[in-house]
Point group: C2
DNA sequence: AGACTCTCTGAAAACGTTTACTTGGCGCCG
DNA sequence: CGGCGCCAAGTAAACGTTTTCAGAGAGTCT
C-alpha cells in the first residue's frame, strides 16, 4: 500500500541507491538528482519502512520498557520520565507490563528480540527463573528496583531502605514508640527493603510490629480498620506506600480515630494526592520520572558503547523525607530534610 | 550476536525452511526433524528476529499508541486498559506522547510506518494540520476523543457533553442558580464539549459564568482563590476536570470557604483521589481503561479486516454521574444516576 | 512390477532497506 | 592529444525471515 523506495526511484528516474543516499547521509549526490528524489518522495508521501531499515542497520531506534504492572501515578510518572528522555533522542518506546513474575517477564523479554536496541526493566519480583537466561545475549539492559545480583548491566535502585529508615526515625524522634508498619507484598524487593529500613529506623528501644499489605488502597483500608478496632492501638503507622497510607487514613477517619492526634501516619512515594488528603501526608518523596530519565540516559550510553567500561554498576536514587501534618511533627521538623545515598 | 535461523539449521542439520516450518505453523514435519530442530533451537536460545519476520509477514504484532501527554492517573489508566487488551492478544504497544499539536503528532505518526499494524490515537487538539495527510495510507486507525471529522476510521469519544450537562443539571436541581464553570484549555476538544454541556445543563434560568483554566491543579487553585476573594461568590463551581476541582477545593478550604456549605463543587473524570479528598468530590465517572480496551478491540478488528464494513463509525463512551458530598446534594440524590449516550 | 500420488524436505525468491563495489564520464595533467 | 584519476550513479549483495515451488522417496493401486 505505502510507497517503497522503488516507487520513489522509478518516479525520480534514478536508482534506489540514489534515493537512499539522498534521504540519508546524502553523501555526494548531484543537486539535480537530489531535487528529483525529494520531489518524488514528497509526492508519494514516502516513509522508509522501519522494519526493513532496522534489519540491515541493526538498529531499531526503539527501546523496550518492561514494567511490573502499570498502576497509578507512580508508573505514569516513570513512563513520562522515560518517554521524554527517549523522545528527545528520537527513540521509540515499546512498553510492556503485567508480568506477574520473572517467568512471564522472560517471555515478554524474548519476544522483544529484534524489536529493541536496549531494555529498561523494572522487576521487583523475587524468586522464579533468573532473568539472565532470558536476556537475549548482547542486548544492553538497565534495571530498575531489582534485587537481581548485578552483573547483567547497570541498575538504578531507589533508596527504599534509607527512605524507610528516615521516616521511621523521624517518627521515633517525634516521640512515638509504638510504630506499626504496613508492609507491601512479600515477593517484592522494594517492599522488603522498606521493612528493613523500618526496622533500622526503630532503633533499639522500640518493638517492631508489621502488618501484611499488598500496596493497594484496599489493603491499607483493611489494616487501618483493624488497627482502629484493636485494643493495642499503636501511636503511629508507617505504611509502605502512600496508596496504603491513604486507605488506612480513610479507615481511621471513618472510625473516628483522629490523625495525627490519636495516631500519626506516614507513607512512601509522595504521590500527588499525598499533599491533598486531610491531613496532608508525611511521606518519602521519590522522583520516579527522574529515575526513568537517568536510566534511559544510561541505557543510551551502553547502547552506543556495548563494551563500555561502566558495566555492572548500581546507582542509588536518592529520596527525600517530606514532613507534613499527618505525622504530628509538622511544627517541630517541618523542614524537609534531604536524605540521599544508602 | 544472537543466533539466527541459519545457526539453528546448521546445528540441526536441516534446511532453514524446515526450521521455520517446525517453529511456526508446523505444517507436516517429521518427528525426527522436529525434535532435532527444537533441540538445536533451545540449545542456541534462538528467538526469531522480529524485524526480519515482520518484513515478510507484513505484520509487526505491534500497535502504536499516540497520546497527547502522559500525565496522571488518567493516562495511566488508559495505557493500562489498552495494554491488557493488547497483551491478551499477543500484541506489543509502541507508546508515544507529548505531541503538543497535530503537526508534531503527524511527525510521530510517520515514523511509525513499518513499525505498527495499527494506530490508536488520542488527539483532542484543535487546529493545526489535519491528520489525514500524515496517516500512512492504509494503516488502520482508531481515534479517541478527537474532533476530527470521521472518515479516517473508527472513533471513540467520551460523552463529555452529556456528562457535563448531567452534573450541571444536578447542581441546578439541587437548588443552585449561580454556577461557575472552570474550563479547560481552549484548543482542547473535550474541554469545549464540557463547556457546551455546562451551558446545556444550566437551562434557561441561569446565567453562565466561565473562568479559564488549563486542566492543571494549579489553574484550579488560582481560580478557587479568585472566587473566594471575589465579591460575587457563586453558589457552586463545576470544574472541567477533577484535578482542577481539587486545586480549587484546596484554595477554597484555605480561604475558609466551606465546601459544600458555602460553595458546592463538582468535577469530571472521577480520578481515584476524588473519593478521598474532603469532602469527597461529586464528579462524572469516565472509565478510561474500558475505553482503551474497546478502542483496541475495535482496532484489532479493522486490522484483521482492512476493508471491513464498520468503518467511519463514532462510538460514544458513556459516563456516569457520581454524587458525593462536595455538591451538598448527597442526602437528596445520592443514587448515582446512570447517564449514557450523548 | 510399474506408475501414480502423496508427503516431506530443500533450494530459492521475496520483503524493503543500506552499502560495498563497479562502471562510466569527465577534467586535468603530462 | 591521450591516459589517469576522481566523482557520481547504478548494480548487487546482504540483513533474517517466510513461503512457493520443485524434487525425491515411499507407499499404494492396478
Amino acid at each position: 500500500m505505502a510507497a517503497t523506495i522503488k516507487d520513489v526511484a522509478r518516479r525520480a528516474r534514478v536508482s534506489i541507491a540514489s534515493v537512499s543516499r539522498t534521504l540519508n547521509h546524502s553523501s555526494s549526490v548531484t543537486p539535480n538528482v537530489r531535487e528529483r528524489v525529494l520531489r518524488a518522495a514528497s509526492r508519494l508521501n514516502y516513509t522508509p519502512h522501519a522494519a526493513a531499515r532496522s534489519l540491515i542497520i541493526r538498529r531499531t531506534h526503539t527501546i523496550g520498557l518492561l514494567l511490573p504492572d502499570i498502576h497509578g501515578e507512580y508508573f505514569s510518572e516513570l513512563i513520562r520520565g522515560v518517554d521524554r528522555a527517549a523522545r528527545s533522542r528520537g527513540l521509540h518506546l515499546l512498553v510492556s507490563s503485567t508480568h506477574g513474575n520473572n517467568a512471564e517477564a522472560a517471555d515478554a523479554l524474548r519476544s522483544m528480540n529484534g524489536r529493541v536496541d536496549g531494555l529498561l526493566m523494572m522487576s521487583p519480583y523475587i524468586g522464579g527463573a533468573s532473568l539472565e537466561d532470558a536476556l537475549p545475549s548482547g542486548l544492553p539492559t538497565v534495571l530498575m528496583n531489582t534485587h537481581e545480583p548485578a552483573g547483567i548491566g547497570t541498575a538504578f535502585v531507589v533508596d527504599d531502605f534509607g527512605g524507610a529508615r528516615a521516616i521511621t526515625a523521624h517518627l521515633v524522634a517525634a516521640g512515638y514508640q509504638d510504630i506499626v508498619h504496613i508492609r507491601g507484598p512479600a515477593n517484592d524487593f522494594q517492599s522488603l527493603e522498606r521493612v528493613r529500613g523500618y526496622r533500622a529506623g526503630l532503633g533499639a528501644g522500640c518493638r517492631a510490629r508489621v502488618i501484611d499489605g499488598d500496596f493497594t488502597e484496599e489493603s491499607g483500608y483493611l489494616a487501618g480498620r483493624a488497627l482502629a478496632a484493636s485494643d493495642t492501638r499503636p501511636q503511629a503507622v508507617f505504611a509502605a506506600n502512600d496508596t496504603m497510607a491513604i486507605g488506612c487514613l480513610f479507615a481511621l477517619t471513618e472510625a473516628g480515630v483522629r490523625v495525627p492526634h490519636d495516631i500519626a501516619l506516614g507513607g512512601f512515594d509522595d504521590i500527588p494526592l499525598a499533599r491533598f488528603v486531610s491531613p496532608p501526608l508525611t511521606t518519602v518523596r521519590v522522583d520516579v520520572a527522574e529515575m526513568g530519565r537517568r536510566a534511559l540516559e544510561s541505557l543510551v550510553v551502553s547502547i552506543a558503547d556495548p563494551d563500555g567500561a561502566g558495566r555492572s554498576s548500581v546507582e542509588t536514587v536518592p529520596v527525600e523525607l517530606v514532613v507534613r501534618a499527618s505525622c504530628g511533627a509538622d511544627s517541630r521538623g517541618q523542614t524537609p530534610c534531604k536524605e540521599a545515598g544508602g
